[in-house]
Amino acid sequence: MRKCIVLDLDNTLWGGVIGEDGMEGIALSTKEPGASYIAFQQALLDLYDRGIILAINSQNNEADALEVIKTHPNMILKEKHFAASRINWKDKVENMKEIAEELNIGLDSLVFLDDNPINRAAMREYLPQVETPELPQDPTEYTKFLNSLPYFEQRVLTDEDKMRGNLYVTERLRAAAEKEFESREAFLKSLGLELHMYTNDAASFARLAQLTEKTNQFNTKKSPLSVEELEAYRQDGEHIIMHARVSDRFGDHGITAFALVRMMGLHWSLESLLLSCRVLGRSVEEAFLYAIGERARTADVQTLSVAFTPSEKNKPAKDFVERNWKDTHLFPADITKPEWITIFYEKL
């Protein structure tokens, strides 16, 4: 596991070179290519909020770079988020050693992200203890790339304020991106949506308990469950707890779908099925149902049913149930997956 991400600035945290392009010229807006850098900064902030240390190692005039960090209105990362910084014209390898010393952590705790292949090659050559992955050439891939790195503990964010901050930023970027496409479907395809499916993952129960309490609109049956209750279901041999984490090229939505499944031989009943409103309208619910169906098929289950209890607010869930359950029983093979969503079945 790694503790600290050391970042380059030009063409890593923003597009362009501050020393040449100036404050007005660098790319950091809701339009591409700036949007990709904003999304990347938000993903880094999410890691910061989970306890990862951030630092800067950049060849630049310090005053120019600090002006962006302190005053650019679209900078998501602020000065306070960086525990150490080396912005100078010295060798990045030397800077790296100093950063490790200042933070009092080993070089083997550091990850170095830099768009320049020469800087990366030098770091690998002289400081192989530092993890220096190949940052993609295309900034639109930065966020997905960061979220796929295996060096950081997968901790679940449950702080509502911080999740809201992420939502404000990433949803604005999505809204801006949608305007660039002629059809909704073309936009959805461009997002590169991923659904990561988990089964009986006790580490996520705190967030799942929160979802069962807070979700009103897309919830087939509002029944708040505590962590203890979820744990009891996990252990009783009759139930499976499924959830999904959803992400796309602008960021990680975190855990947004939950299902409590009761196993009854060749038949499974969805006792509870819910989806956070932040991912509604992208067919994530269809993909989640498809993934549950795939799990059922693997277990040779023939049919799925759903327990639905109407409330004042859960019309979206009602529409979903009516759309998919024209009959009491649904055959898993009949569920189709939206083509723009990729599903990953995660093993614990």
Binding site: T30, I38, P73, N74, M75, I76, R164, G165, L167, Y168, V169, E171, R172, A175, C277, R278
Partner: protein, 76 residues
Amino acid sequence: MKNFNTIVATHFKIKEDEVRDSLTSNDVLDWDSMNYLLFIAELEKEYGVSFSMDEVLSATSLGALRGFLVAKGVAV
């Protein structure tokens, strides 16, 4: 150009004479995180302006948003 208070009232489903600069997400039932973003988008479209990330993240009351619009030269 639509009146700011009218947009607020329609969007958040409150009465126009209840619109105050001091209103926050705690006071308005329909002011959740998603709806707030739609509101921002509506203001941007109506007044032809663009809010920065800082502004969207820092505005905690209606008055703050009105202030940002005024600073952008919109008479609201």
